[in-house]
């Protein structure tokens, strides 16, 4: 880049625009989390359904295992990503949204399990919020649709077919996380 070249105002604005675009949210980096959690939670949901059908006592075991594997993978990937590039202001917003969601989720699951209530439909309902918000801020339609899918499936499984909540949960993980994640990964970096 030429240092002291004479610029007109349009050229200056073009540089500002180009550089701000280069520092935008990295779609391919963000896709990792949706793909990883989509696959892990899908497997946990299917495991729960099959285990319940076959009378396996510890049918819930898939959830903590998926949570641990996903947590460790996300932590390692997050620290590697930070080494590769700086945090943008948008990265901080996403981090705040998903961290507050995570703590709400833990409190919700704990209180429901203690009260012997199936948390599945409620998890789906609150997962719609960060998913939709992320899609809205990124102007990325597949994630917005994913958020709506979570809300719809949450409401549906609250009132109908509660015995199939695990299956519904698994299907929504594919449509709400995995598919948007794969579409994100296809997008060029820093689009």
């Amino acid at each position: 880049m030429n240092t002291e070249k004479e610029m007109n105002p349009e050229e200056s604005l073009a540089i500002i625009h180009a550089m701000i675009n280069k520092a935008r949210f990295n779609f391919s980096r963000g896709s990792f989390y949706f793909i990883t959690w989509g696959i892990l939670l899908f497997i946990a949901a299917i495991f729960e359904y099959v285990a319940q059908q076959t009378q396996i006592e510890m049918f819930y075991l898939g959830w903590p295992i998926a949570g641990m594997v996903g947590g460790i993978a996300s932590g390692i990937y997050g620290s590697k990503s930070r080494a590769q590039g700086p945090n943008t202001h948008l990265d901080k917003v996403y981090s705040a949204i998903w961290t507050t969601y995570f703590f709400t989720l833990i409190m919700l699951i704990t209180s429901m399990v203690v009260n012997k209530i199936n948390p599945g439909p409620y998890i789906l309902l609150i997962t719609g919020l960060p998913t939709f918000l992320t899609g809205y801020i990124l102007a990325f339609r597949p994630l917005k649709l994913g958020g709506i899918l979570f809300w719809g499936a949450g409401l549906f499984s609250m009132f109908f077919f509660s015995e199939f909540t695990s299956l519904i949960f698994g299907a929504v993980m594919l449509g709400g996380y995995l598919v948007p994640g794969l579409l994100m990964r296809q997008m060029k970096e820093n689009v």
Binding site: T3, E4, M7, P9, I15, I16, M19, I20, R24, K92
Partner: protein, 96 residues
Amino acid sequence: MFKPLDPLLHSPLRLAVMSLLVSVDEADFGFLKEKTESTAGNLSVQLSKLEEAKYISVTKGYKGKRPSTTCKITKVGETAFKAYVNSLNQYINPIK
């Protein structure tokens, strides 16, 4: 009446650096070099000019065993950048 453009920012490389730094918490030298497609020597000189004007702060340290230089925009830099963008808008849309 047009406001004069800040000569420190009205230079392609320094403007590029400031535009990157306004978007992130902080950035290391390698990131700035890659995104601005500049040479290490040239970038280093321009960073020094921005630091002297207190538009950015530069911290030198180590990441593991490797030396690292981290840059962050200051409040003075943010204000100057906003004023520069406002002036540009006046030049481009003089009626407003």
